[in-house]
C-alpha cells in the first residue's frame, strides 16, 4: 500500500511531464484527480487497510492530491504560454518613446578624428591663442611686413599689430620658444580670413602639425602624411606631393589626393584636374628656427597644416562650406 502511493506519484509526475498539449493534460487530470480517478479510488479503498495504517495512508493521499493539483496548474499555465492562440498583445508599430540623441558638430568630429590619428603617432596637442600678434602670425614665420606672401592671406586686424590669426602656424614658434627639441605637436583651432563667398567662410578650422628632431627629412614628412591620409581616407587613396611656397617652410609641398568624387577622371569638385588639394606642408625654414633659437645645424623638422572643412566636406559629401556655420539643426542632426 505504501508503495502504491509512491508509484501513483511517480507515474503521475512522469505523464504530466510528457504531456504535449492541454488536452492530454486535461485527460491526465481526470485520470488522477477526477471523481472516478486514481486517487479517489485509492481513498475509497482505505477501509480495506489495517486500521493502524488508515490515518497515515489517508494523509499521504491527501498531500499527494494537493501536490498534483499544483503541478497540474503550473503545467497548464506553462502550456498556455507556449501554444496559446491569443496574440492581441500590443501594437508594436506604435512609435517608440524616443531616447533622444544629440551630437558633436561635424567639424569637431572630424577634428577629433584627425587629432586621434596623430595622437596615435605620438603627437601631443598644443593650443595657441585665436587672436595673435603680428609677430607670431607673420614675422616669426618668416613673413615680414610688406612681403607679397601676406597677400596669400587676407587678414582681419584688431589693431596695427594684433590680428585674428590667419592660420594655426603661430603655434609653431610659440611651442618652440617654450620647448627644447624634440618637438612633436599638433595644434587644432579656428582661423580667420576676410573672405566670404561660396567657397570661403571668414572663420574656419585648421590643424597644424610640427615635428622637430635630429635627422628629420622630407622623406619622413612624406611618410607621416601618407600614413595620416591613408588612415583618414583609406589605404587605396593615392596622393602626390607638389612643390609650392610657404615662407616658413623650405622645401614646401602641397599634398593632393586623387579626387574621391571622380576617382581622378576630372569633375567639378576637383576642377577637372583629378586631384584635390588637401594640405600644405614643408621642411621648417631655418629662419623660423633662428627666430626661436634652435640650432639649425643640429635640428631639422617638418610642419603641415590641414584644413578641416575640406576634409569634412569630402568625408560627408558636403558641397557648400557655409553650411558648417549656419547651425541649421536639420544639418547638425545628420552627424
Amino acid at each position: 500500500m505504501q508503495n502504491n502511493i509512491i508509484d501513483i506519484e511517480k507515474q503521475a509526475l512522469e505523464s504530466i511531464e510528457q504531456a504535449g498539449n492541454s488536452e492530454q493534460l486535461e485527460q491526465l487530470s481526470i485520470k488522477y484527480l477526477g471523481r472516478k480517478g486514481v486517487l479517489t479510488g485509492f481513498l475509497r479503498n482505505i477501509s480495506a487497510l489495517p486500521e493502524d495504517q488508515r490515518p497515515s495512508a489517508g494523509k499521504r493521499a491527501n498531500i499527494l492530491k494537493g501536490k498534483l493539483e499544483k503541478v497540474f496548474k503550473n503545467a497548464f499555465s506553462k502550456l498556455e504560454s507556449v501554444d496559446g492562440k491569443d496574440f492581441t498583445g500590443i501594437d508594436v508599430t506604435l512609435p517608440g518613446r524616443p531616447a533622444q540623441r544629440g551630437s558633436l558638430h561635424p567639424i569637431t568630429q572630424v577634428a577629433n578624428e584627425i587629432c586621434d590619428i596623430f595622437l596615435r603617432l605620438g603627437f601631443d596637442i598644443a593650443e595657441s591663442p585665436e587672436v595673435e600678434t603680428d609677430y607670431y602670425n607673420f614675422e616669426a614665420l618668416n613673413i615680414p611686413k610688406y612681403h607679397p606672401a601676406r597677400d596669400m592671406q587676407d587678414t582681419f586686424y584688431v589693431s596695427e599689430n594684433i590680428v585674428l590669426r590667419t592660420h594655426t602656424s603661430p603655434s609653431q614658434p610659440r611651442v618652440m620658444e617654450e620647448t627644447k627639441p624634440p618637438v612633436r605637436i599638433i595644434s587644432p583651432g579656428k582661423v580667420f580670413r576676410c573672405d566670404s563667398d561660396v567657397t570661403h567662410t571668414p572663420m574656419f578650422y585648421q590643424i597644424e602639425g610640427l615635428m622637430v628632431d635630429k635627422n628629420i627629412s622630407f622623406g619622413d614628412l612624406k611618410g607621416i602624411l601618407t600614413t595620416f591620409i591613408h588612415q583618414f581616407f583609406d589605404k587605396q587613396t593615392s596622393l602626390r606631393f607638389r612643390p609650392s611656397f610657404f615662407p616658413f617652410t623650405e622645401p614646401s609641398a602641397e599634398v593632393d589626393i586623387r579626387c574621391v568624387m571622380c576617382k581622378g577622371k576630372g569633375c567639378r569638385i576637383c576642377s577637372k584636374t583629378g586631384w584635390l588639394e588637401i594640405l600644405g606642408s614643408g621642411m621648417v625654414h631655418p629662419a623660423v628656427f633662428e627666430n626661436v633659437g634652435y640650432d639649425i645645424e643640429k635640428y631639422t623638422g617638418f610642419a603641415f597644416g590641414v584644413g578641416i572643412e575640406r576634409m569634412a566636406m569630402l568625408k560627408y559629401g558636403i558641397d557648400d562650406i557655409r553650411k558648417f556655420y549656419e547651425n541649421d539643426i536639420r544639418f547638425l542632426r545628420q552627424f
Binding site: 506604435l94 512609435p95 518613446r97 540623441r101 544629440g102 551630437s103 567639424i107 569637431t108 595622437l119 601631443d124 593650443e127 585665436e130 587672436v131 595673435e132 610688406y146 607679397p148 606672401a149 596669400m152 582681419f156 586686424y157 584688431v158 589693431s159 594684433i162 585674428l164 624634440p182 612633436r184 579656428k190 576676410c194 571668414p202 572663420m203 615635428m211 628632431d213 635627422n215 628629420i216 627629412s217 622630407f218 622623406g219 619622413d220 612624406k222 611618410g223 607621416i224 601618407t226 600614413t227 602626390r240 606631393f241 607638389r242 612643390p243 609650392s244 623650405e250 622645401p251 576642377s271 621642411m283 631655418p286 631639422t300 558648417f324 556655420y325 541649421d328 539643426i329 536639420r330 547638425l332
Partner: protein
Amino acid sequence: MKVSLNWLKEYIKVDLDPLVIAEKLTMAGLEVEAVDERYNYLDNIVAAKVIEVNQHPNADKLFVCKVDAGGDELIQIVCGAPNVYGGMFVPCALPGAVLPGDFKIKKGKLRGEVSAGMLCSAAELRLETDAAGIMDLDGNFVPGTPLEEALKLSDIVFEVDLTPNRPDCLSYIGIAREVGAFTEPEQKVTFPDYRLPEGKIGDISIHDSAKVQISDPDLCPRYSAGLLMDVKIEPSPFWLQDRLESIGLTPINNVVDITNFVMMETGQPLHAFDFDRVAEGRIVVKRMGSDMDFTTLDNKNHKLEPDMLMICDGDGPVALAGVMGGENSEISNSTTTVLVESAYFNPVSIRKTAKETGIATDASHRFERGVDPEGTVNALNRALTLIAQVCNTTTIAKGIIDEYPQKQAQPEIDINTNALNSRLGTHLDVHEIRHILESVDFKVEKTDEAWLKVGIPSFRVDVTRPEDLSEEVARLWGYNNIETSYPMAAAKGKLLDKKVSLREKIGSIMTGFSFFEAINYNFVNENSCDRLNLSDRDKRREVETILNPISDQMSVLRSSLIPGLLETMKKNISLQADTLKLFEIGKIFFATQKGSLPEEREVVAALITGNRSDQSWYSKKKRFDFFDLKGVVEGLLQGLIIGNLSFEKIEDQSCPYYKNGYAALVKSGDTLIGTIGQINEKVLKNYGLKQDAFVFDLDFKALQALIHGNITAMLLPKFPSVSRDITIIVEKSVTIGAILNQFEKITQKQSLIEQVSLFDVFEGETLSENKKSLSFRVVYRAANRTLKEKNIKKLHTNISKTIIDLFNADLPE
C-alpha cells in the same frame, strides 16, 4: 600668368603634349590651373563657299547670298561686304557662334530677307587687322570645315598660378627656362637679340636732351632709360596685337604695346613717357617728401604720402614709380618723342605704394616680388629695337642712360650635398645635384668632395640660402621620386592636454543629454551688447573691434556666447525648427590695453527652447522650463564630478538679459561657475524672438579648477533602507533650498539619514494664497543593521518637528 604655347615656342624648343607640359610645370612648382584652346571662340564658324550673290531687293548696299556651309541645303545670308563674289571661300559664322566682343549670331531677317548666319571679316574674327571686307580664304576647302582646322589655327593657353617667390617666371623667358629643364634632351632658352639695330640709331645723343638723377638709391638702385624720336603713335601691327590678345591683354598703341610685350617676354616692367611733356627733360627719382595729389593715367586722383617713391620731372611728379604713370606725361596720339624707362625698384617700397594707393598693375606685381636687377638694359634695348621696328619713322637716340648707384650683390652659396641629401631623404651624388641646378641656370662649381659653390643668377631673387637650393633640387628631381620614410622618434607619450580632455568630456555629456553642438562665428554684430541689454559698465562691453570687418554683423569679437546662440535660435525658428537643445564651447574676448592681446576666456554655454515633449500618443505637449535646463547643469557637473553645487537667485542687474527672478548663479562651494536663466522679453524682442528660451553660461577655467579627477568608489550598503515622508505647509516665500539646507545640516549630525529629497510641491485650491505644500522623503539607513520601525519613528518625529519649528510650518489637515 597666361602663357601662349605658340609664343613660348619662340624661346624654347618643345614638342611635348600640352597636357604633359602642364603636368610637368605643376610638378615643378609652377601650378597650371587651366589649359585652354585659344581658338575655342571660333566654334560654329566654318569655311563656306559662296554659291550665288544677288542684290538685296530692299537695300542698295546689301547682297543676298546663297552659301554652302556644309549642310544638306544651301543657306541664305545677307551680307554688306562689297568684295563678296560667287565661288569665294569665306568664314561663315553659323547660328550659335559668338564673335569676339560677345556678339551672338542668330538666325533672323535683314530688311525682309532671311539671314541664317554671318560672313565675317578678318578683323571681326581677330585674325587680322583688316576690316575692309569679308575675309577671302583664298584656297579650296570642303565647305563646312571648322575655320580653326581650315586655317590650321591652333594655340594653347596655360593659366599658371605662380607663388610669390617666383617673379622670374612672370615672363616667357622664365617659363621657357623651366620648360627647358624637363624637355628631353634638355633645352636652353633662345634669348632675343638685345643689341640695338645699327641702322636705326640717330645722331643725337640721349645725354644731350635727357638727364636722370636718382635721389633715393635705396628705393631705386638702378634706372635705365632710352630715347626715341620721330615716333608715330599708331595701332600695332597684327602680330603684336595677336600676341597680346592671346594672353588677354588689350592692344592700345604701338609704343605701349611694345612695352607690354617686352615685359611679358623678359619680366622687366617698362614705362614710356611722352618726353616732350617731361619738363626740362629731367627725370628725378625720389621720395615725394610731402603730401600732394596726383592723377594717374587711368584718370584717377591719389593722395601721395611723403615716403612714396615718385618719378619727377623738372616741375613735379610724372609717375608713381613702378606702379603707374601719370596722366601728365602719358603717351598720346600726338606724341613724337618717347623716353622708355627700365628700372629696378625696391620691392617693399613699391608694395607700400601699391597698397596705399590701391593700385595693382602688372608692373607693381612684378616689382614688389623682385625683378632682375641685371635685366634692365637688355629689356630696354629690346623695347627700343622693337618700337623702331614696328614704327619705321623712329630713330633711336645714341646711347642709353644707366644709373646704377647701388650695385646689387650676386650671391654665391656653398652647399654641403650630404646635408642636402639628409634634409631631403635622398641619395643624390654631387654630379646629379650639380646637373639639376645647372638645368635652370645656376652656376655650379665643385669645391670639395661633398661641397658645391653655387652662383645664384640675378633673376632668382628667391634663392638666398642652402635650404632654398635644397628645394630647387627636390622640385626638379621630383617630390614623388623622393623615397617615403618614417622618422625615428622616442616612444614618449604624454597625457592628453587637460583642457582637451575636459572639452571632450563636456561634449560627451551634453550630447548624451541630447544636445547638438553649434559652432558660431567669433565675431558678432556690433550692437550685440545693446541687444543683450548690458549696462554701460558691464565688462562684456569691453569688446575688441575688428578694424576691417566683413560687415557690421561681424564687426566685434564676442564677449559672450549668448548672442550667437540667440541668433542660431532665430535662424532655426525661421526654418520652422522651434525646438532646440544646443550647446557651444568656445572663446570669448575682452579688450585689454591697446596694442596688447585681448583676454581669451573659454566658455561652455547652452540654450533650450520649445517643447520638452511634443504631443504624441504617450505624452502631452510640454514646454521646456527653467528646471529642464537646471537639471542639465546638475547632470553635467555631476558627470564632471563637481559637487557641492548651489543655485543662488540673481537679485541684481548683473545679467540684464535674464527675466527678473528667473535666473541663478551656479556655484560649487564658494566658486562661481556661471549663470543660468530665462531670457527676458526685451532681449527676445531684440533678437526678433517670440518663444521662451533658457540658457546657461559656464566658465571653462572654473570648471577645470574644480575637477579633481579621481573617483573613489563607495562600498554599497548591506542593509535595507527605510523611507518616511513628511509634508509641511509653509509660506510661499520660504525657498526649498533653505529647507534642504536645514535637512543637510541635520544629516551631517545624524548618520542614520542617508538622503532627503523633495518629491512634491503643491499650491492653490485648498491652500490659502500665500502658502505652499511641500513633501519630502527622508531615507534612513544604518550601515551595520536593519533599522527597526521604532528607531525610525522617534527619529523621524524629531526631525519633522525641527523643520516645522524652524520654518513655522503647518501639517496638512
